[in-house]
Every structure is written in C-alpha cells, then in structure tokens.
Symmetry: C2
Subunit: 380 residues, 2 copies
Amino acid sequence: MTRVGGRGGSPAAPRSVDVARLAGVSQKTVSRVFNGERYVSDEVRRRVLEAAEELGYRMNNAARALASGRSRTIGVVTLGTALYGPATLLIGVERAARDAGYALRVVNTLEGDPGGVAGAVESLLEQGVDGIVVSEPIDEGSVSLSVDVPVLVLGAPAVFGGSRTVAAGVGAEPLARAATEHLLDLGHVTVHHLAGPQGWFAARDRLGGWRAALSARGREQPPVIEGDWSAESGYAAGREFASAGDVTAVFAANDDMAIGLIRALTEAGLRVPGDVSVVGFDDVPVAAYVTPPLTTMRQPFDAVANDGIRLLVQAIEKPDAEPAPAHDPPVELVVRASTAPPPTRKTPARGRRTASGSSGSAHSPPGGDSRPPLTEPTVN
Amino acid sequence: MTRVGGRGGSPAAPRSVDVARLAGVSQKTVSRVFNGERYVSDEVRRRVLEAAEELGYRMNNAARALASGRSRTIGVVTLGTALYGPATLLIGVERAARDAGYALRVVNTLEGDPGGVAGAVESLLEQGVDGIVVSEPIDEGSVSLSVDVPVLVLGAPAVFGGSRTVAAGVGAEPLARAATEHLLDLGHVTVHHLAGPQGWFAARDRLGGWRAALSARGREQPPVIEGDWSAESGYAAGREFASAGDVTAVFAANDDMAIGLIRALTEAGLRVPGDVSVVGFDDVPVAAYVTPPLTTMRQPFDAVANDGIRLLVQAIEKPDAEPAPAHDPPVELVVRASTAPPPTRKTPARGRRTASGSSGSAHSPPGGDSRPPLTEPTVN
DNA sequence: CGCAGTCATGACAGCGCAGTCATACAGCTG
DNA sequence: CAGCTGTATGACTGCGCTGTCATGACTGCG
C-alpha cells in the first residue's frame, strides 16, 4: 500500500494534502474550497484552485462518502427494456438528478425475475445511495421494503413500504380516460381496449381510465385483450379483433401495440380509420409517420422525471419539510389520422380480406392516410 | 458524528465490527468472509453469515473502495436519447457488467454539448470508477483524454487517447455494405443513401459501407441526404428524394428515418417497394409491423455489449494479458416487404401526387405490403 | 480601551473497510 | 521430535476525506 506508482504505472493520483502543500494551506482548507464552504478568503481559494489545476487534482468520492456519510448518488431501478417510456424516463431522471448535483447508479431488473426489485434495491443500498428511484415497477405483490433512504416510485402508487416513499407520474388514468373519450366523442358506440401486461401499474392505470370513460357514459365494456407492449402482441390482438367482427374503435395501451394492431387490421381488409379507429399511447417519435399517422396520447415524461427528482432530493436533503405535491401533468391528445367517426353502414365484407391496399374512398372520412402528419399536439 | 441513531432515526447501520463481535471473531475475518477469501473455516464462515443475517449487515462500499482502491464500478457515458440503438446497448452493457460483478454509473452527454464527453468522463473519474464505457460517441475532434483507467469505446474506433483503450462494435461498415448490396442484387442501378448525422461514427460507418458497396460494382454515388436519425428528418429527406424523380432504392441509416422516408414517398404517390425500395438499419421492434414491413439490418447489440464488457473487465483485472480481439458480429439482413426489384418501365407520373393510396397493382412485385410480416432473419 | 462577535484557518480524530504482518496450531517429513 | 509447510485467525494500520473544535486576526461598539 505504498503510494507513488505501483509497478511503473502512473504516479499515483494527487490527494488533497498534495494540493494543500503546494498551495501552502492546510488540507482542511482544500476541502473547504472544493465544497464551496464559507469562510475561505478569495486569495486562498485562488491559490488552492491553481494548485489543484497544476496537479490535476480530482476529489476522491469514496473517501468523501465515507467521511460524510453521503454519496450524492441516486440509485435507479429500471426495467431492462428499450421501451420508449422507460427509456425516456431514465434519460429525464438522469438529467434532473445531475442538475440537482447527484450522480446515478443504475440497476436493471429483468422482467419475470422474482423479487427482482427487492434484490436491485438491496444492491443499490450496498452501494451507498442517498435515495432510490423505482421506475415503472411491476407489481410483485406489494414488495414492502424496509429501506432507510427515501424512495421515489415513478409510474406507480407509493406501494413500497417505509414512510419516506414519494411517488410521481401516477396520473395516467385521466390520460387513458381522455383517449377513450376521444373515440366516444367521435360517435363510437363503445371502445375496445388492447391492454398492457397487467403486472405493470402503467397498464392498469390505462385499463382503469378506459373503464372509467365507458362507465361514465353507461357504455358496455367489451372483453379486454392483454398484450405485452410489443408490436408483435398488438398484431396478434389485431387478428382477434378483426375476426370478432364488431369492433369499430380500439384504445391501445401503447403505440407499439397500436402499430401491430393496425397492421393486423389492415391485412384483414379493414381500413384504419375507415372501419376501425385506433388510439395509441406515448406518442413515440415515429407515431406521426406510420400509416396512418397515429392518434395518440403524449406522456409528459420529462415533467414526471423532474417532479419526481425534485421530490426525492427534497426528501433526502430536508427530510422534515412538507412534501410538495406533484403537479398534475397536462393531457395532450395528439389527433392524427388513425381515428375517425364509425362507419355509417353496418360494415359489409368485414373480417374477410379484400384487395390489398385501399381502393376508392366509399366512406373514407377526413383524416385519411394521405394527410401530412400532424405534429402539433392538441392540448386539452 | 456519534453513532446510534441521530435524532430518533433508525439505529445506525451495523458495521463489520458489529458482526464480528456477535460472531465472536475479528473484524478482519468478517471482511474475509464477505470477500470470499481463502483460509476461513466453514464453521467460522457459517457463524459470520448468521450474525450478519441477524443484524441485517450490508457492506459499506465507500469504505471498501477507499481501502482497496477499487470500486467495482464501471462508468458509462451515453447520449441522452431514447434511440433504439443506444438504449439497447445500455441495457446490454448493464447486464454484462452486472454479470461480471460490476455496478454501473451512468452519465448522459447531451448532443451538441461541447466537450460533453470529456466532462462526463471527468465526472466519472471523480466518482472513482474502475473503467469507462463510451457508448456511440459523437466525434468532437478527437478528444484525447488522458485517463488512467481502461476505456471501452462502443460503436467507434478507439479514438480516445491512452494505451488502455479498447473498442468493440466497430463492424457496422460490413453491415451497411451488405444492406446496399441487397438492393443492388435486386437489380437497382444505384442506391441512394439517407445518412445519419455525420458527427456520429455509427453514421459514418454506414455511409462508408454504402460507398464501398457502390464502388465495388463501379456504380455512381448519388448525392447523400443527411438526417438526424429521426423519422421527421426521414420524412423531409423523402420529399427531396420524391421530387428528384430518379430514385429507385434508398438505404436509410436507421429504421426511424426509413419510416419517415416511406411515409413521404407514399404521400408523393410513389409505392414502396413498387417504385422505390427502402432498406433500414437496426431492426427496431416495430419494423416488422409498419407498412410495408421494413427490410432492415439487424444489429447485434447484445453481442457488442458482451464483447465490450468482457474486454473492459479484462483490461481492468488483468492489465497485462493479451487483449483478446472482439468477435466479428454476424450479418443479419432481415428481408421483409419494403424491397423489390426496380420498376421495369421508365416510371411515369413520378414525383407528382396521384390519387391517395395505391390503386391497381400494375408492376407490383412479390413482397407487396400485404404479406404477413416476416420475423425470421436471414443469416448470411 | 476592552470585550463580544464575525471571519478565516488549522489540528485532530474517525468514517468502515482491506492490506500487511504476526501468530498459532495441524499435519508432514526424515 | 526438530524443522517444515500449509491453514486459520487476529492486531494494527491507513485509504482520503469531512466534522468538530480550537485558535487567531480583525471588526465594531459601549
């Protein structure tokens, strides 16, 4: 454990004492400078910074964490998927955390891993994080973690035990409701739902919003098909909807499934939105450019991430302060070309394939698939 | 700094000495047990683990890192985008790192941030990482970092200074070449290219592969349009290609741009693949379900991540060992329905809009847009 | 002018581990 | 059975920083 270059390697990183010596001050003063503490004269501060620059000094965070008991690090538990929602949320969380002066540790929980969240949280605690973000958790039967740091749950109620749990982004239900209402407003008698995997709180919220919208108008609730968020599962569901024969409107729990769904409907000879209207969820970047451009519900991922991190950082730094409530995110329904009023006649030749592609435009509504994609969202 | 519960909080986390006391051994022995060292009797090991369990002991990583000089942490510098490629790569990196016993720290560099990578690397070094992964870097003019830990560069040559730099996943050029050749093999006289932003090495590789394929057959290289990876930019490019009037095949540098491109072509009255064939890149999950299902080049993200981390961990743990070369990733062209032979006649009425949607199927080739999507890749 | 209050700095201890070395004892060997 | 070697354990120390307290120098004010 001697210093100064093991085996001819680099000459050992400089420590704060080295800087102190060069600047002619005490080591503690160097620490003060680097922590931006008060009571350091400008002259000394300048000398210290100069010395540090000259030596290429970099603070050792392990030592800092050990001495102070705080790591200025937030741990994130996220699903190991490239799904647009979780990925976008993670980016927002990283930026918000960095702006607040925190670094990030990330652990993925593979879906289907039993006790995955608990294990991930455990490993983060071992790493000494000051707070934990659980992003879009899967319900594993109310994992009650007794954790001694604040926990932020994104996209789910604060189901994890402990008094120091905050939540953000639990507002998907109103969004789902608005999406469903958009279809009802167009005149559809009822709306089918292509749900996400019900282990996800996000999927349940959307299901709940859909139910709420139908109930509020006294409409029948058709059976739900459950997908797994993938376009592939949307395609499979689309084949079922197509053969059911009485579907005029579907609210899909995310855009990927909506895209698969539309493909299956189209292949079955149904036109979207001529015969069946489809609403997605998320507003993924390609949604405006698929055929037809997808009407979808934009999610305020950045706002959720910012709000959440703000709450979490407050819980870390001022544990006794009033937990300021999260903002209500805006409802942004982006109306494009996949939704239209229902067909006026009892649709003929449904469920059987017709010629590939569309031909005329018998009851083709406004908003066919040849409009340039809308990019401006409609804010309600 | 007294222990045992500040202000009525939780009663201070147990340390290894506490476990040692309870187990009737020395602190050092507890350390041995938790590090899986040799020379601990089974009896003692059992007692220690029992005691640790009883106290809920969790190792303090800051202390471990400080004492040992190693953090068992890898830092990742990644772009702050939800693009499929980077996001998927990050997931692969996380899993590979965890399998190798390393935790992850993640820092995003916002695109356009000058010196972003350098700053991000700096902050990671401050955090005391044992190695650094730079994922899909943007070229900022050969940032030569003098870093004293091994660096893995993913998706780019090992441009970053230092002898301890390894690289993986630099094989996109052959993939791009194969994608272009697929179009030439179909009989297209030449192939246009919708490039990615040329600051990205990944984008340059694809451009290079495209050029190589054309050169090898002595074909003309039409002017390149540069997009920004987004469907929106693909759409804009598509309008240009459509008005150019002589385009029969386009190789897009990623799937999102290909989707936007196809939309613009379709709106201009051109059929895909009847009039214009399009090949994408990445094989994003929705590629099989858009209209028409996209022929695209699958990228071996997982293999790249695994290979890379293996190299990096080796560079960390056995600095003197021979750096085993990365495997050559397989070329997986997934042929779906967006590519076909060129139109047989000098195409009439091109560049002007015809009726929306396609009508007949004059020279509609096999692989029209009504085939069920292929999901099995063709391995070359 | 003397004393409190502020500002600026340093001495010192200790955070919770892992590294080093010393020690103790068991089983062998010749 | 002296002299080994190999196994199992503990005492002690220090990683590089921050927290606490002590100490001066300087201000302002009665």
